[in-house]
């Protein structure tokens, strides 16, 4: 299956070519729209946007909140996925499916749901409010919204990766004196590493792009809750081209962050 440039292959070239063409088509389909965005604006307009305070605020907020929410998702999602991958308890599949639900909720509905749960009048939020803690319309709300919508992406992939790890290695580690925590940290997680990174990237990307739940649950306050997608939306009300500039900034920065994460995590394994 590994290419041998120049060797004779028995009639497999045609198939390879067709597959390659189809894949190129698909790649084109995914990248062309993104590329079209770039055609629309001039480099000057792009760099001008980068210097605006709204953009700087929004970009900082987006990167900070997406990082925090991804960290929370990884912190809680990893043990959850590990438990679900390794322990067979009653109701496991139900919990597994429950954790997926946020994906199907249209984000605006997710925002309403979050308000109804954690808002000042919410099922739980009212008790927080009694202690003077309000969550909605704060930066914390942005993070919660992102956790809510992005967590399934990490958890799902983490579970699949953990399931792919052969138990034999865990058994061997235990006979060598590793406690369950050590087994998880030193054996299972490293062996599932590429899947976990991949899931974290998905989740981070989803958090960065989150719009509907954030604007509903956290509101649209510059510097506090206005992330890049909200800034893009707000700009779009007046100036489509400026909004596209912002979108390109988001795409470029995300691309850079994701690529960097891939390089860093690959090296460390």
């Amino acid at each position: 299956m590994i290419g041998h440039g120049g060797w004779k292959w028995a009639g497999r070239a045609a198939l390879t070519l067709i597959v390659a063409a189809l894949l190129a088509l698909f790649l084109l389909f995914v990248t062309l729209p993104v590329a079209s965005l770039f055609l629309r604006i001039s480099p000057e307009a792009f760099f001008r946007s980068l210097a605006e305070s709204v953009v700087i605020d929004a970009l900082t907020l987006s990167l900070a909140t997406a990082t925090v929410s991804t960290a929370v998702v990884v912190l809680f999602g990893t043990p959850l996925a590990l438990v679900n991958a390794r322990h067979d308890y009653l109701g496991r599949e139900i919990i597994d499916t429950l954790t997926d639900l946020p994906i199907v909720l249209p984000p605006a509905v997710a925002g309403i749901a979050l308000l109804m749960a954690f808002g000042r009048r919410g099922v739980v939020g009212q008790y927080f409010d009694a202690f003077g803690i309000s969550i909605a319309f704060t930066t914390v709300a942005v993070i919660l919204a992102q956790i809510f919508v992005a967590s399934p992406f990490y958890i799902r992939q983490a579970r699949a990766s953990f399931e792919a790890v052969d138990r034999l290695y865990e058994d061997a580690a235990r006979t060598l004196g590793a406690s369950p925590a050590t087994v998880a940290l030193r054996i299972t997680i490293p062996l599932a590493w590429s899947g976990l990174v991949s899931g974290a990237i998905l989740s981070f990307a989803r958090a960065l792009g989150e719009f509907g739940a954030t604007i509903m649950f956290a509101g649209n306050f510059q510097g506090r809750t206005q992330t890049m997608p909200l800034a893009i939306y707000t700009t779009m009300q007046g100036d489509l081209d400026a909004a596209i500039s912002l979108a390109i900034i988001l795409v470029v920065i995300s691309f850079a962050v994701i690529a960097a994460v891939k390089v860093i995590t690959r090296r460390s394994v």
């Binding site: 605006a108 309403i112 308000l115 109804m116 808002g119 000042r120 009048r121 919410g122 939020g125 409010d129 309000s134 909605a136 319309f137 604007i215 509903m216 509101g219 649209n220 306050f221 510059q222 939306y233 707000t234 779009m236 009300q237 007046g238 100036d239 489509l240 081209d241 400026a242």
Partner: protein, 250 residues
């Protein structure tokens, strides 16, 4: 103008309908420039979303709605300081077409031609509701008639929930025409989209109310801000953005 020297900074949170994004951003800046110590925090979203947020406990001083319906709901719910709620703006519907106008639309009379791709609002959003009222007005006029209305509705290819998803479709030339508010085409977009006025006889006026929230802790500052919006400076900005301010004396 009076400069109120507040001992510490007051923040006024103003929930503003998305269609006022440009105008209120300018108004907010102008107001802050004149009133040191007051920080106007503007939050833009659809009126319906803002209403939901208020109902779910958002801390807001002023609500500026694009429709009387959502304001009324909040008044009925006891969220508003009812005596402060006033209509302050009018807006009219306008027909917009892409700058190069591929379907050659010159006015309402061209909307019923077959093949015209028309975008309007859904009946639940104000600009969609008013569009339907306008079509009824046209249907009642023998010059157009019910057949005209039906043909126009037959040309609708999409019923949008927000103006923000209408203008890009026109700006990119995907649709041939759309009916939105006059003010929805911003200065920046005027090179991509042409606005055609709709005769006043058929047009439907939208009224924008604003008011102070019952729970607002900064009622005096809020009143002062509203006075500014309705005063000469505010009106000038609003007019510039295509709105028709209702003067405070009425």
């Amino acid at each position: 103008t009076t400069t109120i020297e507040a001992p510490e900074e007051t923040t006024l949170t103003v929930f503003t309908a998305a269609s006022l994004t440009g105008a209120f951003t300018d108004i907010g800046k102008a107001y802050e420039a004149q009133n040191k110590g007051v920080n106007v925090e503007l939050v833009f979203d659809g009126s319906q979303a803002l209403r939901t947020q208020i109902e779910q406990g958002a801390n807001v001083d002023i609500f500026v709605s694009a429709s009387t319906k959502h304001m009324q709901a909040l008044q009925d719910g006891g969220f508003m300081n009812n005596s402060t709620v006033v209509p302050f703006l009018e807006n009219n519907l306008a027909l917009i077409v892409p700058a190069d106008n591929p379907a050659g639309i010159k006015g309402l009379a061209d909307l019923n031609r077959s093949g015209v791709k028309l975008v309007i609002g859904t009946k639940d959003v104000p600009f969609g509701d008013y569009t339907r009222q306008m079509l009824e007005n046209l249907a009642a006029d023998p010059a157009y008639g019910p057949a005209y209305r039906d043909a126009v509705m037959g040309n609708v290819i999409s019923e949008e929930t927000a103006v923000s998803s209408v203008v890009p479709k026109l700006a990119l030339g995907e649709a041939d025409a759309a009916i939105v508010y006059k003010s929805d085409v911003s200065k920046d977009d005027l090179d991509k989209v042409t606005r055609l006025d709709i005769p006043a006889v058929y047009n439907v006026k939208a009224t924008y109310p604003l008011g102070i929230l019952a729970e607002s802790p900064s009622k005096t500052e809020a009143e002062s801000f509203i006075a500014f919006v309705r005063g000469p400076d505010g009106s000038a900005i609003l007019t510039e953005y295509g709105f028709d301010p209702i003067s405070a004396e009425q």
